[in-house]
C-alpha cells in the first residue's frame, strides 16, 4: 500500500537506487538480521566490502571513489537499508555521513587520498567521536582535550555511544584545544587509544556501539583536520547524518506497517480476519497516513537539500517528525500482531526497540523540539 504514491515523484535514477538497495537488503540482510540482533553482532567485515562495491559508503560524496549521488537518491538508499534494520543504516550513516564526510569536508588532500577511497570501498571503517559519557546534547562542554607538545598533540578524554567504535580503522575524534574544538584522525592501534564495547543493549543490537578512551594519545600535526575550527565542524557532519535518518525512519516504519497489514489480513479471530475489525482498520489507516506524510516530508527536504537551500531547522523538523511517526507506527503495528508482535519472528519489535535509539541519537527529540521552538519564537530555551 502507498496511497499517495510518493515514489512516483522519484527520477528513474532514484528508482534504480531504490531497487538495488531493496534487493540487496532482501537478499543479504533480511534473512539473517533477526539472528544478528538476537546474538548482538554485526558482521561488518563481511558486509562492508559488499556495501562499498554497490556504492552505499559515502554515496552522496564526490570523487575519491564515491558515487556522487544526489540527496534524494541517498535518502532512498537509507530508507531501504533501514527497512531491513536501523543498525545497518547506522553503520552506513556513520561511515559515510559522519566519518567520511568529516574527512571530505575538512580533511587535507593527503588525508582524503589516504582514507576516502578505502572507506568508500568498505576496506577501511570509520567512526565519529563527539558524544561523551557526561556530554550528549551539550557537546560544547566536552572534556576531551588536545594539548600541544612541540609539533605533536597529546589527546586525553573519552567518547561514548560511538557506533563502529571498536571495529573502526580510523576514528574522527573531536577535542577541545586552546584554539577551539578541532577534529583529529586517530588510527586504530595508536598507543593510548583503546575501545570497549557497550553490551546489554536492548536496541540496535545488530550494531557495534563502543566507548573510546584516549589516554595520552600522541598524534602528529598532520592528524588534525585542517579545514575547520569550532563546533560547527562536527555539527555540520551531524546535519548530514540526521538527513539520512529522516528517510531511514520511514523504512523502519514501513516494514512494521507492511508486517501489520499482512498479519491483519491473514490472522483470524472470531471467525474472520482481524483486518476486518474497525479497531484494526483504524490503526492501519493511521499508519498509512503517517507513512505518507513522512514520505512527503522526506522528499521535500531532500529536494531542498539538492537545491542547496535546506536549513538545519528543516532537518530538525524532519528528524523530529519522522522518527516520532516511525516509532508510533512500530508501537501500533506491535499491537496489531498481539503476542506475536513481541517475538523476533516478526521484524516489528526489533524496529521498535531500534527506533528508541534513533529517537535519541543525532540530536534527541527534546533538542530538535527546542531548535524548532527557537525558530518559532526567536528565544533559545537551552543556551
Amino acid at each position: 500500500m502507498d496511497l499517495l504514491r510518493v515514489d512516483d515523484q522519484l527520477t528513474d535514477e532514484e528508482r534504480l537506487v531504490r531497487d538495488t538497495a531493496r534487493r540487496y537488503a532482501a537478499d543479504r540482510i533480511e534473512p539473517h538480521v533477526a539472528d544478528w540482533f538476537e546474538e548482538g553482532v554485526f558482521p561488518a567485515a563481511e558486509l562492508a566490502p559488499e556495501l562499498g562495491e554497490l556504492g552505499f559508503l559515502g554515496m552522496h560524496l564526490s570523487g575519491y571513489g564515491c558515487p556522487g549521488a544526489g540527496a534524494v537518491a541517498y535518502g532512498v538508499a537509507c530508507r531501504e537499508l533501514e527497512a531491513a534494520d536501523s543498525g545497518l543504516r547506522s553503520f552506513v550513516s556513520v561511515q559515510g555521513s559522519l566519518a567520511m564526510s568529516a574527512i571530505h569536508k575538512y580533511g587535507s588532500e593527503e588525508q582524503k587520498q589516504e582514507w576516502l577511497p578505502r572507506m568508500a570501498a568498505g576496506r577501511a571503517i570509520g567512526c565519529f567521536g563527539l558524544t561523551e559519557p557526561d556530554h550528549g546534547s551539550d557537546p560544547a562542554n566536552m572534556r576531551t582535550h588536545a594539548k600541544r607538545e612541540g609539533s605533536d598533540w597529546i589527546l586525553n578524554g573519552s567518547k561514548m555511544w560511538i557506533t563502529n567504535g571498536s571495529i573502526a580503522d580510523v576514528a574522527v575524534v573531536w577535542a577541545r584545544t586552546d584554539d577551539g574544538v578541532r577534529g583529529f584522525l586517530v588510527p586504530r592501534g595508536t598507543p593510548g587509544f583503546t575501545t570497549r564495547d557497550v553490551h546489554k543493549k536492548l536496541s540496535l543490537r545488530a550494531s557495534v556501539t563502543s566507548e573510546l578512551s584516549l589516554d595520552d594519545v600522541r598524534l602528529p600535526e598532520d592528524a588534525t583536520l585542517p579545514g575547520v575550527r569550532g563546533l560547527r565542524g562536527p555539527l555540520g557532519c551531524l546535519s548530514e547524518a540526521r538527513y539520512g535518518i529522516i528517510w531511514g525512519a520511514i523504512g523502519a516504519g514501513r516494514s512494521c506497517y507492511e508486517t501489520a497489514v499482512e498479519y491483519a489480513r491473514t490472522r483470524e479471530q472470531f471467525g474472520r480476519p482481524i483486518g476486518g475489525f474497525q479497531l484494526t482498520q483504524e490503526k492501519l489507516a493511521w499508519m498509512e497516513v503517517a507513512l505518507g506524510q513522512a514520505g512527503l516530508v522526506a522528499l521535500h527536504i531532500g529536494r531542498l537539500k539538492e537545491a542547496g537551500k535546506v536549513t538545519p531547522q528543516q532537518v530538525s523538523f524532519g528528524k523530529l517528525a519522522n522518527v516520532r511517526a516511525a516509532l508510533d507506527i512500530a508501537r501500533q503495528a506491535r499491537s496489531v500482531l498481539g503476542a506475536n508482535g513481541v517475538t523476533l519472528e516478526y521484524p516489528v519489535i526489533r524496529h521498535m526497540t531500534n527506533l528508541e535509539s534513533v529517537l535519541t541519537y543525532e540530536g534527541t527529540q527534546e533538542v530538535h523540539t527546542l531548535v524548532l521552538g527557537e525558530a518559532i519564537t526567536g528565544l533559545s530555551a537551552y543556551r
Binding site: 528513474d12 535514477e13 528508482r15 534504480l16 537506487v17 538495488t20 556504492g55 552505499f56 558515487p67
Partner: protein, 259 residues
C-alpha cells in the same frame, strides 16, 4: 566483439496487469514497467562476455518512451550504449512484426552476437530468438544455460527437459538465455550515476528502414479476438486430522490421479 542485448520493458509481475478494452493491447499506464527478468540474465551474460573478450555491449529496445527506464537499468548494470526504437507506428506489433522491426535495426547497427531472454513475462511467446535468427540468416541457439565464446564461434549448453544439449554455432549468432545461466549483478550506484551519461540513440521506423505497413496493429499477423479475466482461484480443501488425516490426503491425491 560487438554484443547486442535485446531488452523488453514489461509490466511488473507484482502489480495487476490489464489489457485495454479499445484495441486489446497491453495497458502500459496501469502497471509499473520493469525490465523483463530474463533479459537481465542476457545483459549479465553480455557483460561477462565483454569482460572476458573485450568489445562493446549495446542495449536494443523497442517500446514506448517509458521503456527508457529499462534501458537505463541495463546501462546502469554496465552496458555501453543503447538504441531505442520508438514510434507510434509500432504500437500493437505482434511477435512476427516485432522480429521484423528489430531485425531491421540489427542489420543497421551490426552485431557479432545478439543475446536476449528466452521469453518475456508478458506475452510469453518465446519465439523472438528463432524469428530474429531466421530474418538475419544467422544461427540460433535458444534456451542457453552456458555460453562460451571461442574466436569466431560459440559453444553453448542448451537446456532441455531431459538435461542439456551441447551445441556449437559460428558467429554471428542469436542466443536466448534461461535464468540458470548466471546471477545478474545489482546496478551499483556508480553504475547508475554513469548511466545517464551513456549514449542512447533514438530511432523511428523510417530511420531503420522499417516499412510502417508491416508493423503495428495493422501489420500484425495475429489478432487478439477476445480476452477475459482469469477465474478466481477456488478455495482450497482443508483436511482436519482426526486420526485419519493421512488416509484423507491420500484419497484426495488419488482422486486427482496424483498417486
Amino acid at each position: 566483439m560487438n554484443i547486442v542485448v535485446c531488452v523488453k520493458q514489461v509490466p511488473d509481475t507484482a502489480t495487476e496487469r490489464k489489457l485495454r478494452s479499445d484495441d486489446k493491447t497491453l495497458d502500459r499506464e496501469a502497471a509499473d514497467g520493469v525490465i523483463n527478468e530474463l533479459d537481465e540474465y542476457a545483459v549479465e551474460e553480455a557483460l561477462t562476455i565483454k569482460e572476458a573478450h573485450g568489445g562493446e555491449v549495446t542495449v536494443l529496445t523497442m517500446g514506448p518512451e517509458k521503456a527508457s527506464e529499462s534501458i537505463r537499468k541495463a546501462l546502469a548494470m554496465g552496458a555501453d550504449k543503447a538504441v531505442h526504437l520508438s514510434d507510434e507506428a509500432l504500437h500493437g506489433s505482434d511477435a512476427l512484426s516485432t522480429s521484423y522491426a528489430l531485425a531491421q535495426v540489427l542489420k543497421k547497427i551490426g552485431f557479432d552476437i545478439v543475446l536476449l531472454g528466452s521469453e518475456s513475462t508478458d506475452a510469453r511467446t518465446g519465439m523472438l530468438a528463432a524469428m530474429l535468427s531466421e530474418r538475419l540468416g544467422v544461427p540460433q541457439v535458444t534456451l542457453a544455460n552456458k555460453v562460451e565464446i571461442d574466436g569466431s564461434s560459440l559453444k553453448a549448453q542448451r537446456l532441455t527437459d531431459y538435461g542439456f544439449d551441447r551445441v556449437e554455432a559460428s558467429l554471428p549468432a542469436v542466443v536466448s538465455v534461461v535464468e540458470k545461466i548466471n546471477e545478474p549483478r545489482y546496478p551499483s550506484f556508480k553504475g547508475i550515476m554513469a548511466a545517464k551519461k551513456k549514449p542512447v540513440e533514438k530511432l523511428a521506423v523510417a530511420d531503420a528502414e522499417i516499412d510502417a505497413a508491416k508493423v503495428g496493429l495493422a501489420g500484425a499477423s495475429t489478432e487478439v479476438v477476445d480476452f477475459a479475466d482469469a477465474p478466481p482461484r477456488e478455495k482450497g480443501q482443508i483436511v482436519k486430522d482426526e486420526g485419519d488425516g493421512g488416509v484423507k490426503v491420500a484419497e484426495f491425491l488419488a482422486s486427482k490421479k496424483f498417486i
